[in-house]
Symmetry: C2
Subunit: 308 residues, 2 copies
């Protein structure tokens, strides 16, 4: 059975991607330190190693016993806000880990290395759709580290590993951590609506985002793992191309939950992007028949999964 | 007496910058781990702490006892070639150190933070003069780390420290380490010519560089420390704007040393830039009367200092 290492298998995105690959027939291994991931997220049948992706002893142990086809590096601290609290920890969790896994992949003879990057690398962008060749000006420690990781991947491509960075926009959907109020715009609002019967928004209602449904992200990782040929290193936007204002999102959420909740606004968080939405034509050029789930359908499924 | 922290005071550039600030009447402190720097480079009167800039215990000790006007962060592993041998060490030496010093500067209430960055952040560039707004595509682990450090400085500017990154091009001159054959194009060639009576060039003679004389770099650090107001975060090219081919450099060296030496060519090193020279108009807009030392004069002084 072909082996794949998916990091962050106890997290929101990692657990879904891993579950899908297990269904596809792969033997999936995962490293997760359970700092934000939860053990009960781990899909059935996964081989789980508790630890840090930056821990060379752990990866060396894995190295000796296994030959992996590919590494899907999804683990990591994923909040821009939290990255300001301890920038050095963020660097270790999000950059040292990537370097260690790249070295691991090279020594293990892995063919592919797929990295979960982020739209945050672009930083503050003008009111225009974002392309992969646009300037990167990260605004948070988190985004600096993600961009550095991308750059390491680009160099490792020239050293013989096939690497690609998927710049995920705002991913949402069932399985998102409803307890973490520092990460995930939709999950934060839904969680507040359910638990507090109100929504407190950090920042302006005019901010906008590009929301991607989790199942689409799973399909995209699957495509890159199974079908894509990595002739050159690429950064790819994973987004719908649709600009959704925070005010529109809130109105939609209020229309879908049982009873409407009041909304208040406070100051934004440092390093937050005002607005961003992305051009996905580079991605869709590769995945010709792919179509994204609409926000309407995605929100329905998400809310349904919460049993409220 | 006003205090300044200059990191890397036992290194080529750090020692010269520190000596100049001591002459200017500052009390200069330095952190250096002596990994590439040499203790006998330390200028008279400097307060020396042996250790890593990433060592929080060390910087906390300094923090309690001193109030610094500014931090000039010059220490660091400075070879692209070496950064491939241990990328994680490079990340610790060059990025974790910057983060630790930025935190230190903020807690210490420093007004200014001046960073010795590098032209390497641009990566492989087309045959055109390089501006600060050109794309950054680092080709070595070293360059990835330097770019990440710049990005951290930009964020810290928004957190209230006045930061600037000086993108140094090929700095050369008296005091350069003649034993280190992995760093410094001119010092490597001169060292080979003196010790081996031959020069072995890694890469093509058609590659080109922009050579900056050490005394100019000292003056530029001095200007930014004493006169510059940091309204916005800036990346600034520190270069002459003159494109010098490796073949021209070798011919000039051969014409200046006692007897001409034979030159041979072997393969280049990974991550080496083919050619780069920079636009310095942003820098000269700030330092209006500044003029750079010519390569001819700079080489004369360098060779004279070697007593050959």
């Amino acid at each position: 059975m072909n082996k794949i290492l998916v990091t962050g298998g106890a997290g929101f995105i990692g657990s879904k991607v891993a579950a899908n690959l297990i269904e596809e027939g792969y033997e999936v291994h995962t490293i997760d330190n359970l700092s934000t991931g939860q053990e009960n997220n781990l899909p059935n049948g996964i081989k789980f190693y508790k630890g840090d992706c930056s821990d060379e002893k752990l990866t060396n142990k894995l190295l000796k016993k296994n030959q992996f086809d590919s590494v899907l590096h999804i683990a990591g601290q994923s909040s821009g806000e939290i990255s300001f609290e301890d920038p050095e920890k963020d660097l270790r969790d999000n950059v040292l880990s990537t370097l260690n896994l790249l070295k691991f992949a090279k020594e293990n003879g892995c063919h592919k290395f797929i990295y979960a990057s982020t739209m945050s690398v672009y930083g503050n962008v003008k009111n225009k759709i974002i392309n992969e060749f646009d300037e990167t000006k990260p605004l948070s420690m988190y985004a600096v580290g993600k961009l550095a990781s991308e750059n390491y991947l680009r160099i490792y491509h020239s050293l013989g590993i096939q690497t690609v960075s998927l710049r995920l926009f705002n991913v949402y959907g069932p399985g998102q951590n409803m307890q973490n109020l520092k990460q995930g715009m939709i999950s934060i609002y839904l969680s507040q609506a359910i638990n507090d019967n109100r929504i407190e928004v950090k920042g302006s209602p005019d901010r906008f985002r590009d929301f991607v449904y989790i199942d689409d992200v799973v399909d995209i990782f699957n495509f890159f793992n199974n079908q894509y040929k990595f002739d050159n290193y690429e950064n790819l936007n994973v987004c719908t191309g649709i600009k959704t204002k925070v005010s529109h999102l809130l109105k939609t959420i209020n229309s879908k939950i049982k009873s409407e909740v009041p909304i208040s606004y406070i100051d934004g968080t440092p390093g937050d992007q005002f607005g961003i939405y992305g051009d996905n034509s580079k991605l869709l050029h590769l995945m010709k028949d792919f179509s994204f789930t609409t926000l309407d359908k995605g929100l329905d499924s998400f809310i349904k999964s919460l049993n409220i």
